[in-house]
């Protein structure tokens, strides 16, 4: 039974939701609050899984309420359901809301979205992870990308090409851009083919807000260096995995989905670097010392690895399930459901191939590429093609950098 709290200052809205969502009553326990303070009181006395709040309310508005919830009950999934289309108000809610729905919103769509969110939470929202991800407000961005973005959006006529280039170069910015571009705030929900489409949909105005005003992105400058984590290496690797995954492909897989999944496959590491830098560094240190893959150590420390953490974040932010699942299982494609496995396998392989040029001849611990997975993507015959592809991609990437 999921407990969901709806908050709106308009009683008719709460009544309408109560009635429209009544068919869910055997799976959801619904609570209703007419103001922010009342919602916080109810949360304090009985925890819940999700809060769906209006934006404009007298006294405490939706953004302020969700900010308090983020602080006091970080594990609660936070959704805005608002009829207010003012951009500034929307930007205030971006750091603290996981998803946005615009009134009028078909109750069927809302039901579906809530179901999707709760199922993501069920699969990946292992409690400490839920708190970790839930307390995240701003995604870390590589300092030089951040500077460049600030410079570009400050231009009176930013060039789309350049913006796309900067956004693509950074995993944090890309993730945020994809989240917002997929959000219902910008109209009908639809699949965003690539980063360019996401940037074009948001427009330079929103990007300017994202970068300059709202607490949605921040330059990654940790007080003490995190052992084994370099933000620039991280960006380079993510980019390489995206490029390789897109080309490794596989039957029935969409290249652009693979590219995005590849680019975002390690976004969980950004969450860890931001929310738990010490433990994350510790895990890297142990992994290196013991010659084990880091995700194994993370699983021991956090219960899950950066893969699930990233998947949980992407799921909460409403990215398409194909990407979420591929990211979640990129170390263990065998755990993915049958229809999601090829994409996870492609990521797995791309991740493996991307490390070849970095450390030629050294395989990562116990992780020799699984014959089963290799078979899934075309068999050992493809091996030489793949390695060449990986080396080319790495060379190209290095040239670009």
């Amino acid at each position: 039974m999921k407990r969901i709290l709806f908050v709106d200052d308009e009683p008719n809205i709460l009544d309408g939701l109560r009635r429209a969502l009544r068919p869910q009553r055997d799976r959801w326990q619904m609570a209703f609050a007419s103001s922010g303070p009342q919602a916080l009181e109810m949360l304090a006395s009985e925890s819940c899984d999700m809060i769906v709040s209006d934006m404009r309310m007298p006294g405490m508005d939706g953004a302020a309420l969700l900010a308090s919830v983020c602080e006091r009950h970080p594990a609660v999934i936070r959704i805005i359901l608002s009829g207010y289309t003012d951009l500034t108000a929307f930007m205030c809610a971006v750091p603290v809301a996981h998803q946005f729905f615009l009134k009028p919103c078909d109750p069927l769509l809302l039901r579906e979205a809530i179901d999707h969110q709760t199922s993501v939470a069920d699969r990946y929202g292992y409690p400490p992870v839920a708190e970790l991800v839930g307390s995240l407000r701003a995604l870390p961005v590589a300092p030089h990308a951040y500077q460049e973005l600030r410079r570009e959006v400050a231009e009176s006529h930013p060039s789309l090409d350049h913006l796309v280039k900067v956004v693509t170069s950074d995993v944090g910015v890309s993730t945020r851009a994809l989240q917002l571009a997929h959000s219902a705030f910008f109209g009908q929900r639809q699949d965003i083919a690539d980063i360019r489409a996401a940037v074009a949909r948001l427009g330079s105005d929103i990007l300017r807000h994202l970068v300059l005003a709202a607490d949605t992105l921040r330059s990654f400058e940790p007080a003490t260096a995190i052992h084994g984590f370099d933000i620039d290496d991280f960006q380079r690797h993510s980019h390489l995995v995206g490029t390789i995954a897109e080309r490794v492909g596989g039957a029935g897989l969409q290249a652009h989905v693979l590219y995005k999944a590849g680019l975002l496959h390690d976004v969980g590491k950004l969450v860890l670097a931001d929310r738990a830098p010490d433990q994350f560094g510790q895990a890297q240190k142990i992994a290196r010392a013991e010659g084990r893959p880091s995700h194994q150590v993370e699983e021991e420390m956090f219960g899950v690895s950066h893969a699930e953490i990233g998947a949980y974040l992407l799921g909460l932010w409403g990215l398409p399930p194909a990407i979420v699942e591929a990211v979640a299982h990129h170390h263990h494609p065998e755990r993915a459901s049958d229809d999601q496995r090829p994409a996870a396998a492609a990521l797995y392989l791309a991740d493996y191939l991307a490390r070849l040029p970095e450390a030629p001849g050294i395989t990562r611990g116990s992780e020799a590429p699984d014959a089963h997975i290799v078979a899934l993507l075309g068999g050992p015959a493809m091996w030489s093609t793949w390695t060449e592809l990986a080396l080319n991609a790495a060379r190209l990437g290095a040239q670009h950098a």
Binding site: E10, N12, I13, D15, G16, L17, R19, A20, R22, P23, P37, R56, M57, P58, G59, M60, D61, S82, G83, Y84, T85, D86, T88, L102, K103, P104, C105, D106, P107, L108
Partner: protein, 543 residues
């Protein structure tokens, strides 16, 4: 001149006292006189022609005429002398009437000669100056006429009864005519859209003989309007002639169009700012109407099942005892359908849906009336109370989170001649300002301020007060509130043009008044006063 010379010569001859007998040859006398006249004529005509000339040529020609004149005298003299024949006689010279040319006499003759010479010079100088003045006068008149005719500003002289006495080409062109004559052939009354306007102008001129910078909307030949910036002066007729009006006009139609466009842009901007709030006000009811509709749709499916089950029971009951299985099924269908819940909720859902639809309709109607674009530039009678109500509906989202708004509208408020679309703008600005002032007080608290809008009649005026319980206006900025671009609001809350625009609309367009009363910490009241009959005649001209 010739006769003078001849007369002088022969008189001089007659005055001589000689002991000789003097005879004249009549032929030569006649010739000498004719010569004197002819050469004088040539000399004088040369001299007069020379007067028109100037520069170096003048002196050469003058010299020529002087020579000619100089020649006339000796020629005449010697011809005359040739005509005289003396025969010696011993007749005693009669000296009884002779004078002796004493030295005194010589002096007197010299003096007189000099005086005559001086007089001649003075006369010639005066004559010269007079001629110069006359030609100057003529050329000045031509110059001013030229200035009048060719001036890019329109100039016109009109009689009180509306005949156009004179005008220039620019004036004719402004009114859409090709020539001055065409315009002058039409009466001035044809240039007005409303004849009363001209009467009002004449009445105004009776009090104030010069009126400058009037902005008037007049009528072109093809009936289209032209905006003219006009200065008019009354010229009182001399010697009992009727007085006339001299006008100078500049075409400001382009500027006017720009101004109107600016006003329109401001209005669009305000509507744009309201759009997010209005969307919210509409989206909220649509959300719960659609939630409830979905609920009713699913409820109806459940009720249909219930009725199908109960039909089955009834069908069986008509033919004997009902199968307990069927009865059980009917009971479970009813339980699944959640009938008790539907029974209590469906009527409420329907009520709320109707309420929601009513709210949407109300907002849409208020929106439509609020964004009314004044169809013509003429004023029309409008209900100010209704305008206030509409304003409060469309702006509701802008204040409802910080204040409650209350309208105390006088039931005896007369319709006011006005541009209601523009006044809506004024009321909106005042209400939004009130909301912002209150927001600064209540932000971060759960208190609500209060906005009161009152209307009342005061004789020929209608008064609209907008009061708030906001911050009040600090002493230091009180005299700046109507200044363009003056704002104390943060970025994104106002461009500082709201009150400037409000004043322009109330004072300049409606001949009304706008003022405020404020106390720091307690709030402000803005008061708009509008004449019920619209603008007075003076203002009618100004707009």
């Amino acid at each position: 001149m010739g006769a003078g010379i001849a007369g002088m010569h022969y008189t001089g001859m007659a005055a001589m006292r000689l002991s000789a007998d003097c005879r004249f040859d009549p032929m030569l006398v006649t010739v000498s006189v004719v010569l004197a006249i002819v050469i004088s004529l040539v000399a004088l005509s040369l001299a007069f022609r020379v007067r028109e000339e100037s520069g170096r040529r003048l002196w050469r020609q003058k010299a020529v005429s002087a020579v000619v004149m100089g020649v006339a005298i000796p020629i005449m003299h010697y011809t005359g002398m040739a005509a005289a024949h003396y025969t010696a006689s011993d007749a005693t010279v009669d000296l009884s009437h002779a004078v002796k040319a004493s030295s005194l006499g010589v002096a007197a003759v010299t003096l007189v000669t000099l005086v005559v010479l001086a007089l001649a010079i003075v006369t010639s100088v005066f004559d010269r100056r007079l001629t110069a003045q006359r030609s100057e006068l003529r050329s000045a008149e031509e110059r001013y006429r030229e200035l009048f005719l060719r001036s890019p500003a329109g100039m016109i002289r009109v009689t009180e009864d509306g005949r156009i006495l004179d005008c220039n080409l620019a004036m004719a062109r402004m009114f859409g005519f090709d020539t001055r004559e065409e315009l002058m052939a039409t009466p001035m009354a044809e240039r007005y859209f409303d004849g009363g306007e001209r009467d009002a102008l004449i009445a105004r001129l009776a009090e104030q003989p010069t009126t400058a910078d009037l902005e008037r909307r007049l009528r072109r030949k093809d009936g289209s309007p032209v905006w003219l910036l006009t200065t008019i002066r009354v010229v009182e007729g001399r010697n009992g002639e009727p007085r006339v009006f001299d006008g100078m006009m500049i075409d400001i139609s382009d500027k006017k169009r720009y101004q109107i466009g600016l006003l329109h842009a401001q209005k669009l901007e305000a509507v744009g700012e309201l759009a997010a709030g209005i969307a919210h006000e509409i989206n909220t009811p649509i959300q719960f109407v659609s939630d409830n509709t979905r609920f009713l749709q699913e409820s109806f499916a459940a009720v249909s099942q219930m009725i199908a089950a109960s039909d089955e029971v009834r069908a069986q009951a008509e033919h004997g005892p009902v199968d307990p299985v069927v009865l059980d099924r009917a009971a479970s269908v009813q339980l699944n359908a959640d009938w008790a819940y539907l029974q209590s909720e469906v009527p409420k859902a329907l009520d709320q849906m109707l309420d929601g639809l009513g709210r949407v309709a109300k907002i849409v109607r208020a929106m439509k009336e609020f964004s009314h674009v004044d169809q013509s530039t003429d004023m029309a009678a409008a209900d100010i109370n209704r305008a206030i109500e509409n304003t409060l509906v469309v702006a509701r989202n802008e204040y409802k989170y910080v204040a409650v708004a209350e309208a105390q509208l006088a039931s005896d408020l007369p319709p006011v001649m006005c541009h209601i679309g523009d006044l809506n703008q004024v009321f909106l600005n005042l209400v939004i300002n009130a909301a912002h002032a209150i927001e600064d007080v209540v932000a971060g608290t759960d208190q609500l301020g209060r906005i009161e809008v009152r209307t009342k009649r005061d004789g020929d005026w209608v008064e609209i007060d907008v009061s708030d319980t906001g911050t009040g206006i600090p002493e230091a900025v009180r005299n700046k509130v109507f200044d363009p671009f003056f704002t104390t609001k943060g970025v994104g809350r106002g461009s500082g043009q709201g009150l400037t625009l409000a004043r322009a609309i109330v004072v300049e367009k409606h001949d009304g008044q706008i003022s405020f009363d404020t106390e720091v910490g307690k709030g402000s009241t803005f008061r708009v006063r509008l004449p019920v009959r619209g603008r007075g005649p003076a203002a009618a001209l100004a707009a």
